[in-house]
Structures are given as structure tokens and as C-alpha cells.
Amino acid sequence: MTRLPLEGMRILDLTAVWAGPHCTMLLCDWGAEVLRVESTQVYQPNTRGHMAKVPQDLPRIRKGWGSMYPDWTPGARPWNRYPVFQSHARNKLSMTVDLRRAEGYEIFMELLKTADAVIENNVPETIEKLHVTYEELVKVRPDLVMLRMPAYGLSGPYKNFRSFGMQLEGTTGHTWIRGYTDMDASMRDDTFFGDAAAGMVGAYAALLALRHRRRTGQGQLVELAQAENFIPYLGEAVMDYIMNRRVHATLGNRHPTCAPQGVYRCKGLEEWLTVTVNNDGEWRAFCEVIGRSDLLTDPRFATAIARYKHQDELDAQIELWTQVRTAWEAAQALQAKGVPAGPVLKDLELVADPQMASLDYFKELTHVDAGTHKYPGLMWSAAETPNELRTPPCRLGEHNPYVYKELLAKSDDEYRVLEETGHIGMDYAPHVP
């Protein structure tokens, strides 16, 4: 078997919810041993579910994307069945320890001696209260790489402000430039791209620090403020304001300069087609495919500028064509003539998608508490480094025996005591809601 690039790297993972776990997933996918340090005594809301003990009927009563437990049933151990967690926890290992207590802290420090990096995305004061800041850890592990990725950074007035990705999308200006053009901003639902961006760039940042360490022996603290990381992603709006003092508003589904672009209703329930026509060549091809050469000579649509001005009228004409075909028929007909187009795929359609199949993207994994399902695969592939998902999402405390007995050489007696005192376990403590 090929050696994966990060084999031999051990990362202690103190991340929560999405952004941090996305980061450690990417490193883990490519060979790092990622050890989630969790606690059966304290619950991080949203990481393994909104609450540990979910009322069994709640997901069915209020079906929503955050409650898609297998068969809408939380089950005996809902924390091992929560899709948000299951979507990033493949390949990772899970151990439990209560860091707030002296002996728990000591265990973490022992483990730290064997680790190459620590990654976390908590509110800075949480890390300070636990005494697991870089300044504390580096005393034990002088060449440590630590990546901290709080919302607003480790300094400044908002240092300890609490935020999920969706609120950061507000402060960075993303929320303002998306959504329906004819509706109030309070009608914008949540999107979560800030989390995805922070996780992605966090993995990059960790790799850079690890490379420097490998070459020089020098570790370091890396600080990724999730808000700042997302600002470059909004380059057009940010640069237009800086250069021209222009404030972008939402364009809805439209393109800033090209027309037509939009989402068009197709035949059937919830069937939608997206199209982008970038230039006159694509426009001619588009008109040919939809059998409307008359549009080419219509003064309202003859030039790019005219099309941009008359988009509402143009969209109405386009929908006459799309509404009598499925999104796939329409997309394939347009792509065949070089016009950018694609259907809005539903989740299960993407799971069954032929392109995904040809990439061998989804991988079936069997999980003790969740059953057998296909899991989304690797973000990219490398021709000389064949790679695939290795193990199913880690269950809470699943790897305690490995960590305590193999890595830390605890005796059976010591292990039992740590179980009795609520450090080691696979269930949340009775007092955890």
C-alpha cells in the first residue's frame, strides 16, 4: 500500500462543530493520526448533536437537516449517529478525558509528549480556562505546532466573541450579498460557507507549520481568525468598496456582468436548471438549442448589454423551454453545444451521480451504531498516491483502550479507576442533558 503523506503525524484534536473538524478531517484523510479528545462530562452543543439525550420523537416531529439521525431516530447513543459529526469523523480516533480535573489534565499532557500538533477552534477563553494554550503546552512539547482558529482571533475587542460560521458570514459581508433581490435580509436562511472556508485553509496552515517543523525542528503557534480568513473569498465586493466606495447588494441568482444566468423551473416537482451564458458565442448556441433563433435578432437581447437590461423578459422566454423538460434533459442538451448548464441536484441524486461514480467518490462504511451507508469521499485525488476512506466515523471513546493502554501504558487497574471516575467512557454522564 502507498504511504500517505502525513503518516506518522499525530494530531490532538480539540475542535468543535464544523470548521475545526473539517480541518482535521482533511489532514486525517491524508494519513495523519487524528485523535479527538472528548469528554463524557461536558457537552459541546452542536458537535455530536444539539444535546446528548435527544427526545426520541423530536426529529420526526420536526424534521430538519440538523436532525437527520438514521431513520429519524436518535437511538441509544445519538451522539454516534448525528450526521453533522458523521460527515467529518471518518478515519479519526476518539478518546475521552475530563480536562478540567487535575488527573485528566495530566493525561492530556502525557499524550501531548507523543503528539506533533494540537488543533482547536474554540472561544479563546475556553482554551485559557483549561490551560491548554500554546504558551502552556509548549512547556511540555517545545516543538509543538498549534493551530488555533477562533472566530475573531486571539487579540482585539472581539477576541472572546461567540460565533458559528453563519454569524461570521454576516460580519464578513457574505450574508448581505446573497439572497432574493426582492426580499428583506431577515428572510435569508443560513448558509455555512465560512465553516468550509476556515476548515479548508486551516488544514493548509497546519501543513505549512508542520513542514517548517520537519525541516528545522521549530514548532509554532498559528492563529487563523475565521472572519479574516473568509474576507479574501469575498474579493469582488471588498475590492469594489475599497477602490470605488461601492457597496454591493445581493444579485440573487444573477451574474454581475453576464446574462442570462439564473435558476429555471423544469418539468416535475422541484426540478430546477441553472444556466450561465458568458458571451455571444454561448448565446448563439443557447438560442439554437432552445430553438429560438428569433431571440438573436430581438433588439432586447441582441447584445450582452441589452440582455443584461432585459433579464426578466429573457428569463420568462427561457422558462417556456425549460418547464416542459426535466433539468437533466435541458442541461445535457445545452452542455452538448457548449453552453454552461446544470441541474440543481438533490442530495440523493448527488449520491447516485455518474460523475461521482466514475471518480469512485462515495465509500460504503459500516458503523456499529449507525449501520451501513455511503460516505462522501476525498476532496481531491492524487495519481501517485491512491487513497480512500479507511474507517467509519469514530464513536465517542471508541479508542480509549488504544490511547490509554497502548500509548500511555496504563494498567488494567488504572484504566478501571479512570472509568469509575468518569474520564474513560462511551456514554455521557447522567447529569449531561
Binding site: 444535546m51 450526521p83 469582488e236 457597496v247
Partner: protein, 402 residues
């Protein structure tokens, strides 16, 4: 001066638009030497895309281009010509990485595919960024930001139930693909240095979006767990959760279920917590309860500005954020105080401020880059370094090779 993390790494960048240039920008930001190779005459098509300084279209005045290409050196080279190919191969001998974003098969048609590059440099890393990937039934399909979200992303779940699905703002998927390509490249660099082999990396907008943790992968798991596709939900179904109006705009506060106590504390009405309309988690997750609560909540919010509410919500431990415009963001003191924005001097546009470091490295810090290269700015320096005289270069120029 402290070292940088990617010092000593030479990267040939034959990408354009957003994803490729953002990848190589991230690499340049932390010390890689990036040589941006553009088509003679017109260059990267982003040079023709706005926003332009003072709205004046000019190949050196695109704000998007300036943002994406800071810190790189620029040469022009016609890769279709035999001489252009020869020069590229010469450069590739001394490079660790080539990043390209042509349609699949294009580099091969130039005689510059992975195998050809590997023949001159056995440990070369080629990072390919495409629409749908280097193979498969959609290989030659065209894509755009909205199509990437429609096919790869949770667009079906974004927007209102009675309306059409809604895209994300700007070009975030293209940027994300760039960040993925930078990460994949750094991973392959590690591999080359530790395991001694190069690689050909296959990244696409489609697959990056499908693999992103913006709820996409969660939905792919959840839909299989339940056998049901997600759908679009009206916002504000959960009580006290989401975006609400306030005195001068909008504020997003997360106040659902167990955070509800913080909301009523912020309002100075803690008695609402035991009000029989709002006293269980199940009740709080019902749409009718949300409407009922808004009767109390919105009049409260309307008394304060978004910044005031931001402070009040945070004081009560509520994850929250004001809905800022680009103006609010640019003038935001917290981000200014942390020194995020980078001011540079560009030979054509003059003084220009751009987004600065995406993250802070203590031992191998980000350095403020040189501004984006003007077209062909470093031809003499870089191609001259291959042993071409000024006379050779001027001949290549007249032939349109550079």
C-alpha cells in the same frame, strides 16, 4: 528576517480566473516563489473583469486581479508555440510545482502533460484544477459559480420553500477550490520531500463543493440515514433564531433551544423562560412559537443598532453577528486593529489596500507582498535567467511568444 514556511519552493502558475490564482496566492503568501505565466497580449482573463479602479476598464486596474495575484512574478509565454513549450520545460526543470487550470487534456495537447513534465523533472507536482475533474462523463462540461453550487452543493436546500433555490454570494466556491488546491499542493510537497515522489493532483470545482463542510457533506450523510432529501425551509422557524431586523439594519443571533435563556436575559424579561408558551425545547422548535415570540422580540430589537445588539448578545453568551455590508466590514475597528488590511503601491494604480494575511504564523510570518505583476513585468529577469539575451527576448516578443 524570519524564514517563511514555503521558502525554496518554486511554482509555475499557468492558471487564470479565480480558483488557480487564489491557490498560488496562498502559496506565495507564505514564501513560495510563484511565476505567473500569462498569454502574451491579453494575459489572465481576470484582467478584463471588474471591479476596476474608478470603473475604468484597464488590464492593470482590475481589483479582483490585483487581489488574487499579489506576491507573484509575471511572465508572458505562448504555450502553444514550440519555443514557448521549450521555455516552459526549461522553467519546469527548476520548479517543484506546476499549477494549471486548463480544460482537461489541454496541457497534453501542448506537450506539457504530467508525463511530459515528469520526463524533465522526476519529482514534479502537477496540480490540475478543472470544472468536474480530469476524467468521467462530465469531464468536458462547462461550469460556473452557480452551476458548481447547483450540482455539487446544497443549493436545493438554500432559499425559501415557495421560491427557486438560491446561490451563495460572489464567487466563494471558486475561492474554496483555490484553497483546496493550495492544501493539496502542500500535501504533495510533503509527500515529495518525505516519500520522494511527485504527483498529479486532480481538483475540481464540483468535487471541492461536494466535499465541503458547508452542510453539503452533512446532507449527503443525513439523506442516506433517512432516505429523504433535504428541502428549503423558511428562516426563523426556530424561536429566536436567525436574522432579525433592528434599528439600523439586521442582526443574526442564535437563540434556539438551550440558548433561549440567554435571549430572554438579554431582553431583560427572564420570566418568559417559564411562560407556558416557551417552556420546553419541543415548543420552542415549533414555527407558531417562533411567530408568537417575535411579537415580543422584534420590538425589543428595533430599539437598538446592530452593533449594540452584537455587544448585548455576546454579553449574554449568544453566538451572534451583525449583517455587515462591505463598508461596515472595511471600517470595522476590530479587524483594523489586528492589522488585517495590507496597503501596497502599484506602478499603475498607485496606493492600494487589499485583504492581507489569511492567518498568522508566529515563527514563519506572512510578509506583505509586492503588488500583482503588470503583464510580462518579469520577462527579462526570469527568462533572462534561463540564458536568453535581451536581443533573444526582443525577438521572442516580436514573434508573439512572450
Amino acid at each position: 528576517m524570519p524564514p517563511q514556511a514555503l521558502e525554496g519552493l518554486r511554482i509555475l502558475d499557468v492558471t487564470q480566473l479565480i480558483a488557480g490564482p487564489y491557490a498560488t496566492k496562498l502559496l506565495a503568501d507564505y514564501g513560495a516563489e510563484v511565476i505567473k505565466i500569462e498569454r502574451p497580449g491579453t494575459g489572465d482573463v481576470t484582467r478584463q473583469k471588474g471591479p476596476f479602479l474608478h470603473d475604468e476598464p484597464h488590464p492593470e486596474k482590475s481589483g479582483l486581479f490585483l487581489h488574487l495575484n499579489a506576491g507573484k512574478r509575471g511572465v508572458t509565454l505562448d504555450l502553444k508555440s514550440a519555443t514557448g513549450r521549450k521555455l516552459f520545460l526549461q522553467l519546469a526543470k527548476s520548479a517543484e510545482v506546476v499549477v494549471e487550470s486548463f480544460a482537461p487534456g489541454t496541457m497534453e495537447s501542448f506537450g506539457l502533460g504530467y508525463e511530459a513534465l515528469k520526463a524533465v523533472n522526476t519529482r514534479i507536482i502537477v496540480t490540475s484544477i478543472s470544472n468536474f475533474g480530469q476524467s468521467g462523463p462530465y469531464r468536458d462540461y462547462k461550469i460556473s459559480e452557480i452551476i458548481a453550487y447547483a450540482m455539487g452543493g446544497p443549493m436545493h436546500e438554500t432559499g425559501l420553500p415557495e421560491r427557486e433555490p438560491m446561490k451563495l454570494g460572489g464567487s466563494v466556491i471558486q475561492f474554496q477550490t483555490g484553497a483546496a488546491a493550495a492544501t493539496a499542493t502542500a500535501m504533495a510537497v510533503w509527500n515529495a520531500e518525505v516519500n520522494g515522489h511527485g504527483d498529479h493532483l486532480d481538483l475540481s470545482l464540483f468535487r471541492t463543493q461536494a466535499s465541503s463542510q458547508d452542510r453539503r457533506t452533512t446532507m449527503l450523510v443525513g439523506a442516506q440515514y433517512t432516505g429523504e432529501n433535504g428541502d428549503r425551509r423558511p428562516p426563523g422557524v426556530s424561536t429566536a433564531n436567525g436574522i432579525r431586523p433592528c434599528a439600523d439594519g439586521y442582526i443574526a443571533i442564535m437563540g434556539a433551544s438551550n440558548r433561549f435563556a440567554g435571549v430572554v436575559r438579554m431582553m431583560g424579561q427572564p420570566e418568559l423562560l417559564t411562560d407556558p408558551r416557551f417552556d420546553t425545547v419541543v415548543k420552542l422548535s415549533m414555527p407558531d412559537t417562533s411567530e408568537e415570540f417575535d411579537i415580543h422580540y422584534i420590538p425589543f430589537l428595533m430599539q437598538y443598532t446592530k452593533r449594540e445588539l452584537f455587544m448585548m448578545a455576546q454579553k449574554n453568551g449568544l453566538p451572534s453577528g451583525p449583517i455587515f455590508t462591505a463598508e461596515d466590514l472595511y471600517t470595522e475597528p476590530h479587524i483594523r486593529e489586528r492589522g488585517f488590511w495590507a496597503k501596497m503601491r502599484h506602478p499603475v494604480v498607485g496606493e492600494i489596500t487589499q485583504p492581507g494575511r489569511p492567518f498568522i504564523m508566529n515563527a514563519t510570518p506572512w510578509r506583505k507582498p509586492e503588488p500583482a505583476p503588470i503583464l510580462g513585468q518579469h520577462n527579462a529577469e526570469i527568462l533572462g535567467g534561463l540564458g536568453y539575451s535581451a536581443r533573444d527576448l526582443s525577438r521572442l516578443h516580436s514573434l508573439g511568444v512572450i
